[in-house]
Amino acid sequence: MLEIRGLRVDYGLGDQAVRAVHDVDLTLHRGEVLGLAGESGSGKSTLAYGLTRLLPPPGVVAGGQVLHHRTDGPPVDVLALTPAQLRAYRWAETSIVFQGAMNSLNPVHKVSTQLHDVIRAHEPDSTRAGRRARARDLLRLVGISADRLDSYPHQLSGGMRQRVMIAMALALEPQVVIMDEPTTALDVVMQRQILGQLAELRRKLGFAVLFITHDLSLLVEFSDRIAIMYGGRIVEEAPAAQLYGRALHPYTDGLLHSFPALHGPRRELTGIPGSPPDLRAMPTGCAFHPRCPRAFAPCAGELPPLGPPADDDPRRAVACWLHPAGATAPGRPIPTAEPTDHP
């Protein structure tokens, strides 16, 4: 569906440039939920902004490809689209639900205006009445009564605003929805509600989701596959249940022990010592080795490649010297994982 190949994102140009995303390869399959987790500054949001070409300056996509495979016709490279093509591509094929529900809606326009203008921008032939009916249906889809159409954003609660954003993201029935910490600003009860609704909508409409969050416990429940980012690289990628059951990378393990699970047995919580790496002065070798409790000889010297570990399920991949690559050549391609049906 969406195939990211060797994506590199820099902040700044020339000698001053700081690389926030290093040669990331990631594939989002049709209809699946792919979780992307990591600490603040791990590059997960930068990756999302980079692949949609929404990076604010001084962010620059330094290289790579983002291939969007369509059901009809050849794949397109999002990074090579002309501005007009890009405008047509955006939202119609890949829509985004952003972090700040509070600030994602323009405060001076009615909800209906903001729903209408996206439909009108992509379907100039649509009629006013048609757009209004669509907007009505969209709100109903996310469980908001249609008379809220004429409300202004400040008249809605935080949860309602985020649901309006989700409705807006689904307005053009895109194949891919990117969610960048969509529930971070909401309380836990509202988070559950919205995620439940989202899972249901996904079953109904069949779009794929790239779900970005620092809350790994949320991903374990909600996603099919999970990729973990550290220091601008993917360090582990595995089906959600496997990752939760047995994390291979010590960083993933640390993340899993940093959150209380909402369900399941009680576990002891531990944090990860140290702080995220400075992008201007990345550690040599594995970026995690200064904080890694299990670091050993090769870690500081050489960068471990991301690949399926020799002694494990071929659907997983990890970049760690504890689990060196197996028979398959290090690096890509990763065997595809079947989307599992999650409640």
């Binding site: 949609t52 047509a88 323009n106 001076v108």
Partner: protein
């Protein structure tokens, strides 16, 4: 709606307070209008004339403060602002009525034009921040820090003189009768070019700067990123999202500047001897023409209040967050 009524009530109260002060201040000043007329004519007024002047100014009746106050209000409500000393015996309302169109015509038009132009340029500069347009910004900062009147003096020194197209003073060719005909209108326009350009150059820069900075601030808001992500056209994002939101502070600034049209550009009118209200006020101060000053102050007060009310209404219309449901 309730909010609007509250504001209106507040402004009515302020207007009452201002008018009452306007009534009190001259009465606290020693002397009376007749005395100052006598001193202006250096005693060459006969006793009979003085007596009739006292009748004319209503000083013969022995009224207490309260009766005077009631009378004052009655006069104001009838549009009677008393008689001017300078143009004695022309009523103040006539003097103001003659000079107000000049001020509104010159300063009013330039204020509106400078707001529209400055805001449009500011939108452009803010949207294309980081481009060559930014190199022009120091020039606008420089221009906005120059006082009007100094720029006016420079303009007079550079552009006027014997044989020049631009006249250095006045509102129209002496000898013409104000009327909408082919002699008067071109002359009036020609006289207004330099003062208008002066005001435009120095006031527009402020609008450009503030609009540009608001655009830059608003451009980093999340909803602008969302608008881009929605695939809206560049134009729609720039105008419907960024400029629409960045405009809010500028609009209230504009409404306030409308209030200062009447009194704010006094110095330009003085420099160009332009027959507007500011020039009239300047002369009134010179001749100690209290009734005229009072009348002009009243007009200034009322226009500032009306402009404030306009600003409130504009904000109410433009920003839904200020409307209480």
């Amino acid at each position: 709606m309730r909010f609007l009524l509250q504001r209106t009530a507040f402004y009515l109260f302020t207007a009452w307070a201002a008018i009452t002060l306007n009534f009190l201040i001259p009465r606290l000043v020693p002397g009376d209008p007749v005395q100052s007329l006598i001193s202006r004519n250096q005693g060459r007024i006969s006793a009979d004339a003085i007596a009739s002047l006292r009748v004319l100014f209503g000083l013969d009746r022995d009224q207490n403060m309260w009766e005077q106050y009631v009378d004052y209000w009655r006069q104001i409500l009838h549009g009677d602002l008393g008689l001017s000393f300078t143009f004695f015996p022309t009523p103040v309302s006539t003097v103001i009525g003659d000079s107000l169109p000049w001020t509104v015509g010159l300063v009013g038009v330039t204020t509106v034009v400078s707001f529209l132009l400055g805001t449009a340029l500011g939108v452009g500069a803010g949207w294309r921040r980081g481009s060559w347009v930014d190199a022009l910004l120091p020039a606008t900062t420089f221009l906005s820090s120059i006082p009007y009147f100094w720029l006016g003096l420079v303009a007079i020194a550079v552009f006027t003189g014997p044989g020049s197209f631009f006249p250095s003073s006045g509102g129209y060719e002496p000898g013409l009768v104000p009327a909408f005909d082919q002699y008067f209108v071109p002359s009036a326009v020609r006289h207004s070019v330099l003062p208008a350009a002066t005001i435009l150059v120095s006031s527009m820069s402020g609008w450009i700067l503030s609009m540009r900075n608001m655009m830059v601030t608003v451009s980093s808001e999340d909803y602008i990123t969302v608008a881009h992500a929605k695939g809206l056209s560049e134009r729609r994002v720039a105008l419907g999202y960024a400029a629409r939101n960045a405009l809010l502070p500028n609009v209230s600034g504009f409404a306030l500047s409308l209030g200062f049209i009447v009194g704010g550009t006094l110095l330009v009118e003085i420099v160009f001897s332009y027959p507007g209200l500011g020039y009239q006020l300047f002369q009134a101060v010179g001749y100690k023409d209290y009734p005229l000053m009072q009348g002009i102050f009243l007009i200034i007060t009322v226009s500032v209040l009306v402009a404030n009310l306009l600003a409130d209404v504009a904000y109410l219309l433009l920003d839904p967050r200020t409307r209480k449901s």
